[in-house]
Symmetry: C2
Subunit: 205 residues, 2 copies
Amino acid sequence: MAVKPIPNIVVGRLPIYLRALQRMSQEGRRVTSSQELGERLGISAAQIRKDLSQFGEFGKQGTGYNIEYLADQLQSILKVDRVWNVIIVGAGDIGSALARYNGLSERGFRVVMIFDNDPSKIGQPIGPFHVKNIANLVEEVQPAGIKVAILAVPAQQAQEVTDLLVEAGIRAVLNYAPISLAVPEGVRVQYIDPVTHLQHMSYYL
Amino acid sequence: MAVKPIPNIVVGRLPIYLRALQRMSQEGRRVTSSQELGERLGISAAQIRKDLSQFGEFGKQGTGYNIEYLADQLQSILKVDRVWNVIIVGAGDIGSALARYNGLSERGFRVVMIFDNDPSKIGQPIGPFHVKNIANLVEEVQPAGIKVAILAVPAQQAQEVTDLLVEAGIRAVLNYAPISLAVPEGVRVQYIDPVTHLQHMSYYL
DNA sequence: TAGATTGTTAATCGATTAACAATC
DNA sequence: TAGATTGTTAATCGATTAACAATC
C-alpha cells in the first residue's frame, strides 16, 4: 500500500499555523476555529482544515480547536517538541544578530556555536558565545551530532562553507547568502534573502 | 479583452532568476540556457522558459539567453531598474544589521532612514544614519514619498507600527516580526521569520 | 547543413475551494 | 434541540511538465 507523502507546501504552512496559535495562547485564548485562524492569516478556512486533516483529527464539530492542544500537536509533527542545537557560520552583522536573538530557543532551536574565518573575530565574544575558528568546524560539529546550521557568510564563500557543513553532518541549512546552493540528497536548504522579497513587491508598485 | 494577470508565483521567481544571472555576469559569463539556469537553481528548464515567456521573447533558438540583456529586462519588469528609498523601523540587532548592509543598494533599494521609539536609541548613530523618533514617522515619510519599509520591531508592536506605516503611505512592507499583519487593499507584505523556515526543515529531520 | 535551444501548446499533475453530512 | 463547525469528498482551478515545430 502506497503511502502518499504530505505535500511540502502543506508542511510549510504548519509553522505559520503554530505561530498564530502560540500568539493566541499568549493572548489568553483557549479555542479557535478554522475560520478565525484563516482570517488572521489570510488563508481560507477550508485550506486550514484540509491541511490539518492530513495529520489527524484535532478539532470538535461545533466547537473548533483547543488552541493549546493543537499547538502541541503541531509542535510534535514539526519535531519542535524538543530543542535542536544549531550552529551559526559567519560572525558578521547578521550572524551576530542571530546569535543574540532570544526568539529561537522558545521555538525549538538553540544556538550553540558561532564560527568565522576572520582572525580578528575568532575568540571575540558575541552574546553568550566566543567565535570559533571555522577551520575546526568539522571536528567540533560532527561529534556533537548537530544537524542544523545557519549560514551567514558572503555569497562568494557560501558554497565552499556549505560543502564543509555537509561534511560535518549538517542536514538542514538556513542560508542568508544571496546565492543558490548545491547540496546532496538528504540535505535541505531554505533561503532568506530580503532583496528577493523586496523585488517581488516592487513589481506591484 | 480580458488581460490575464501574471501569476504571483511567477513574479516571485523572477528575483531568483535575476540573482543567478547577475552572479553569472560577475563570473564573466555572457550567455546561458534555460537548462543551465535550471540546474543552478533546481528548477526545470521548461518552467523557466514558460515563466519568461509571460513577459516576452528574450532568447535565441540554438543559442540561449544573453545574460546581461535578460538581467536588464528582468530588472525593468521588477521595477528595480531604478532605486527605491526604504525606511527601517526598529533599531535593534536586525534593524541595525540591515541599516549597515550594503547588499541592498546594488539591487534596487536604498535605506534612507531608521526609526525607533526607545529614547536611549533615538539620535544614536547606526551605520551612516542617526536613529529618528518614530513619533515623527508619518511627517517625515509621507512628504518624502517613500513607499517601502522594513519592519524590525517586536511582534507585540508590529501591528500598530504597521498601521502607522500605512498612514504614512507605505505600500510594501518587509516584516521581520514573527506575526501576521493586517493591511488594507493595495499594501503588500512579505514575511521573513527564520524560525518558520527552520521548523519547515525540522519536519524532515 | 547539423545541432542546439527557444517559445508554445496540450497533457498531466497537484492544490484549492465549495459543499455538506456528521456530530459536538 | 438549534446552531456551529469539523473532516472529507468532489469539483474547480491553477501550475508544471513534456513534447515539438520553428529557427538561430
